[in-house]
């Protein structure tokens, strides 16, 4: 074998190896494909990676009951590597080459915004499992989680109430991208409508993956000591910045009783490496919390634990986060809509969404209406306990009607 032949052979082999590694698929004769766009590397890897596994678990459940419309459900997993343009590229590949019937994916809003033109152009269907800033209603995206009007604003209202400590001043700290900036804009509009002056808040942004919070926490303490009433922190940093931020405020002696943190992207998984005893009382708000007492939740927890053990996945068996449940709900609601439409064609499925409902592990019966592509979810406010989880501080009476466009923005 001469050098040229060797090079050709390696190039061909390399190409062959690279192709399926981008998209892993199991071919079946009569099957319908679902695509996953969740990063298993990069800054979002710790939390986003497990969503692919949940989608697979939900698909397994469907297959065990005979699949969807008699077809087996196949899940194609990709790794967009926390690289926002790569989400769009892989999304296009899944829709156009693999003909995926629906996509499940994205965590950060910037990744959703990057996939949006792709799904709109190819008329695909993206199930988005995160609570987010709202201000968007694409017919090609199913918003599985709550817009700010039904999650963030109730939590702020609680913190501004007497039992929540009568918050009067607000330090907004976020990662520098569209979700924190829009959320903060909505918050500011909300506070203005409540009669707060502009001096009542301060806004600060850090780059993705930022970890040196010392100076910022010093500033927060200074802000908190200034006159004007009880301060709170509205935290919208994402990814690995969350535990780093909490480590710093613990070391500088800030407790929930002096400056409570409302961590809008803080999940059970972010508390995994932390000693949560000094941070008891900090808050978050989601459409699902691990400690919910509901039969559907107990079943989901057991299924996940078994699934992790069976496939020896590198995730904790007993940590379940809201976006996992939302992605799981997404697969089932898609299947229900398909059965109702008797088709897996995007237009037919979309038309069938009106009135589809599902028993979510959160204990609420979640549903969709024909008005928009949002799912009606119940909402919880959680409070960190010393077991690396959240106690339920408040839960909505019912599933509030989602309001995609905030009047405060």
């Amino acid at each position: 074998m001469n050098r040229r032949k060797f090079l050709k052979a390696t190039a061909a082999l390399g190409g062959a190896l690279a192709m399926p590694s981008l998209i892993k698929s199991a071919q079946a004769a009569d099957s319908v494909k679902l695509g996953c766009l969740f990063s298993s590397s990069g800054t979002m890897a710790n939390i986003e990676g497990r969503l692919s596994a949940v989608v697979k678990m939900a698909a397994d459940e469907l297959n065990a009951k005979g699949g969807v419309l008699g077809k087996k459900v196949d899940v194609l997993v990709t790794d967009p590597a926390s690289d926002w343009p790569l989400y769009a590229q892989l999304g296009r590949q899944l829709l156009q080459q693999e003909k995926a019937a629906a996509l499940f994916g994205c965590w950060t809003s910037v990744s959703r915004k990057s996939v949006l033109p792709v799904v709109e152009q190819s008329n695909g269907l993206l199930f988005y499992p995160l609570h987010f800033e709202g201000e968007e209603n694409s017919k090609n995206v199913v918003y599985m989680n709550s817009p700010p009007a039904s999650s963030v604003l109730p939590a702020l209202e609680y913190l501004m109430s007497k039992d929540g400590g009568e918050a009067k001043r607000f330090y907004m700290l976020g990662s520098d991208y569209v979700w924190p900036r829009t959320i903060n804009k909505i918050c500011k509009g909300f506070w203005k409508s409540k009669g707060f002056a502009e001096t009542a808040w301060k806004e600060e942004y850090v780059p993705f993956g930022f970890s040196n919070f010392q100076t910022i926490v010093n500033n927060i303490r200074k802000f908190a000591a200034e006159p004007g009433g009880q301060p709170i922190i509205v935290l919208t940093v994402v990814g690995s910045s969350i535990p780093d931020f909490f480590k710093e405020i613990i070391n500088q002696g800030i407790k929930a009783t002096d400056i409570p943190v409302l961590g809008l992207d803080v999940l059970e998984a972010d508390l995994e490496g932390l000693d949560t005893a000094p941070m008891v009382g900090h808050l978050n708000c989601w459409a699902y919390l691990q400690n919910v007492e509901a039969p559907a939740n107990a079943a989901f927890k057991t299924n996940w634990a078994n699934y992790v053990t069976k496939n020896s996945l590198p995730y904790k068996k007993d940590t379940i986060i809201d976006p996992m449940v939302s992605a799981y709900d997404g697969v089932h609601m898609w299947a229900l809509a398909c059965e109702k439409a008797k088709s897996t064609e995007v237009d037919a499925v979309r038309a069938a969404f009106d009135g589809v409902s599902f028993d979510c592990p959160s204990g609420y019966k979640i549903s969709m209406s024909g008005e928009n592509n949002y799912v009606k979810r119940g909402v919880f406010i959680g409070s960190v306990n010393d077991q690396q989880a959240f106690d339920i501080l408040w839960k909505s009476e019912d599933t509030p009607k989602p309001v995609p466009f905030s009047p405060y923005a």
Binding site: S40, S41, G42, T43, A45, N46, G49, K162, D163, G164, G165, D176, E204, Y205, V206, P207, G209, F210, S211, N212, Q214, T215, I216, N218, N219, R221, K222, A225, E226, P227, S240, P243, D244, K247, E248, I250, N251, Q252, G253, K255, A256, T257, D258, P260, A269, E272, G273, L274, D275, V280, G281, P314, Y315, K316, T319, S383, N385, D386, D391, L393
Partner: protein, 544 residues
């Protein structure tokens, strides 16, 4: 208004307790206990806060035992006080069951029990009461200083009678002074002029932003600060606090700068040896840091399994192990890959990048993607307030001291040992060193090992500050190259000076322009600097 309501509540409580005391002195404590526990078991915020206040008032009048108060407040705060239907009350903690009234052991209850949810207002009251009762029951305890610090944050709701009792019980004059400052916080609007002026003076002794705010607030209140004597005392106190606050802010900035510098320096030091002395562009440097952190984790787990008694010392025990393991990884890299690529620097770039990906994915497969949980040893958790609002956090102090330690060790190896002599000889002139009998190959392996080991130590020192997961290394690589290039390739002192500069500039810019802009400005400054001095701050003299 709120103050009025509280005062009325306190008055009524006082009267009720007084009446009870007159009627049945012997049973008073027992009855009071039952009534307090009953109210701590409700879901009502106001009732629970009133119960806490009544408890403290009772303790201050020596009618309720302070020990019992501390136990019950602790149990309510950590949700081990469980309440059930029909007045069943139990303190259940780590398998032990106690009667909340007598604190005697009881058998496990079969009733359905739940701890009432503690919201933020109730939690603040519990923390205030817990701090006060600790200061009353164990005034000389090592936790007393921390309790006083916590209490200061709740100065607005502290029970004054119990606070007075804590002041009297306090043996340390320093702590007693701090407690008096908390009492002064509440006496700022005291009707008695003398006491008001004394309180204003007292607050100036503890120059925090919070006290300054309180004084400014008082200054704006014409009725309370109208008297010329009060006004003069206020002006003097505020001026004094301002001076101290400026000083404390300066100290805080310097400390933040040093701490950031120590992190940058540790991330860059290994690279300074590998890139600086050997010229290898090692993109896997960040992953070597990660390997160090994971080794530390394994040491921690091993100690937890074998000798849990010395778990707090795991960071120190891990120092040689983290160094050796990472050095070994580095030596393996050198022998298997990098050795063959010394004459092709671009290839090393690709090869080391591939190694970094390999290491990340190996760790992901074996450990998973989640953040690792490190035990924070007692000597590294929390911090000490030095002056004003300046807090020295122990984990960062550890990083600074540790960085200095490894700098000195590295300097000694390079300047004072034979190996260091060889390394410098090979760096300055490889062929000539070979001619006089230095085995360049061996020196390469060893210096690569040392460079990697230093990165491993960085991983160890960073584990109490940053989150440890497979991707942690990627955050450091850009900073590390930046520092090494700015400092001057091949100069450890240059690396040190460059990290201190970047750290300082960063913390000075950050509060004014934000973290995003700070990063951009620092990079721009470096680009401009390198334009004029491409060899960096300290260029080693010699032939390269």
């Amino acid at each position: 208004m709120k103050r009025w309501v509280l005062a009325m509540l306190r008055l009524s409580v006082f009267m009720a307790a007084g009446a009870g005391w007159l009627a049945a002195p012997a049973r008073a404590d027992g009855d009071a206990r039952a009534s307090i526990v009953d109210r701590l078991c409700t879901r009502e915020t106001e009732a629970r806060i009133a119960a806490v206040d009544e408890l403290l008032a009772g303790v201050a009048r020596k009618e309720i035992a302070a020990d019992w108060g501390a136990a019950i407040i602790g149990a309510a705060g950590d949700a081990s006080l469980k309440c059930g239907e029909g007045g069943v009350r139990v303190i259940a903690k780590s398998g032990r069951f106690r009667d909340p009234l007598t604190l005697a052991d009881v058998s496990e209850s079969s009733a359905k029990l739940a701890a009432p949810f503690v919201n933020l207002r109730v939690r603040a009251a519990y923390e205030m009461a817990g701090g006060l009762l600790l200061l009353i029951t164990a005034p000389a305890s090592p936790l007393a200083a921390k309790a006083a610090d916590d209490l200061q944050k709740h100065a607005g709701i502290a029970n004054l009678d119990a606070l007075q009792m804590a002041v009297e019980a306090q043996p340390s004059p320093d702590l007693a002074g701090r407690l008096q400052a908390i009492a002064a916080f509440r006496a700022l609007r005291h009707p008695d002029l003398e006491r008001r002026i004394a309180a204003i003076g007292k607050l100036a002794d503890d120059p925090t932003e919070r006290n300054r705010t309180a004084l400014l607030d008082l200054q704006g209140d014409k009725t309370a600060a109208g008297d010329p004597k009060v006004a003069a005392a206020l002006a003097a106190s505020i001026a004094s606090i301002d001076r101290w606050l400026q000083f404390s802010r300066l100290m805080a900035t310097v400390y933040s700068g040093l701490s950031y510098a120590s992190i940058l320096f540790m991330a860059a030091l290994g690279l300074a040896v590998i890139f600086g002395l050997m010229g290898v562009i090692n993109l896997a440097q960040g992953e070597l840091i990660m390997v160090g952190a994971y080794t530390t984790y394994l040491v921690q787990e091993a100690i937890r399994a074998a000798a849990p008694g010395i778990l707090d010392l795991y960071l120190l025990i891990a120092i040689p192990i983290a160094f050796c393991v990472t050095a070994l990884v580095g030596v393996l890299m050198e022998i298997t890959v990098i050795r063959h690529l010394y004459r092709r620097p671009l290839m090393t770039l690709l090869a080391t990048w591939a190694i970094s990906l390999l290491l990340i994915n190996l760790v992901r497969v074996f450990f998973g993607t989640q953040n690792l949980e490190f035990v924070t040893p007692a000597f590294l958790s929390g911090g000490e307030r030095i002056v004003g609002d300046f807090i020295v956090t122990y984990n960062r102090l550890f990083a600074i001291v540790f960085a200095l330690g490894i700098l000195i060790a590295a300097l000694i190896i390079l300047r004072r040992t034979k190996l260091g002599l060889f390394i410098r000889a090979v760096t300055e002139n490889r062929d000539m060193a070979g001619c006089v009998g230095v085995s360049a190959r061996r020196v390469d392996v060893l210096s690569f090992g040392i460079g990697s080991g230093l990165a491993g130590l960085a991983g160890l020192a960073l584990s109490p500050i940053y989150t440890v997961n497979p991707n942690m290394g990627t955050n450091f690589i850009v900073d590390a190259f930046m520092i090494v290039v700015l400092g001057g390739v091949g100069s450890l002192i240059g690396t040190l000076i460059a990290s201190v500069n970047i750290g300082m500039i960063n913390v000075i810019i950050e509060p004014a322009y934000g973290a995003v802009a700070a990063k951009v400005i620092v990079l721009l400054l470096i680009i401009i600097f390198i334009q004029f001095r491409p060899e960096g701050l300290f260029a080693p003299k010699g032939r390269r």
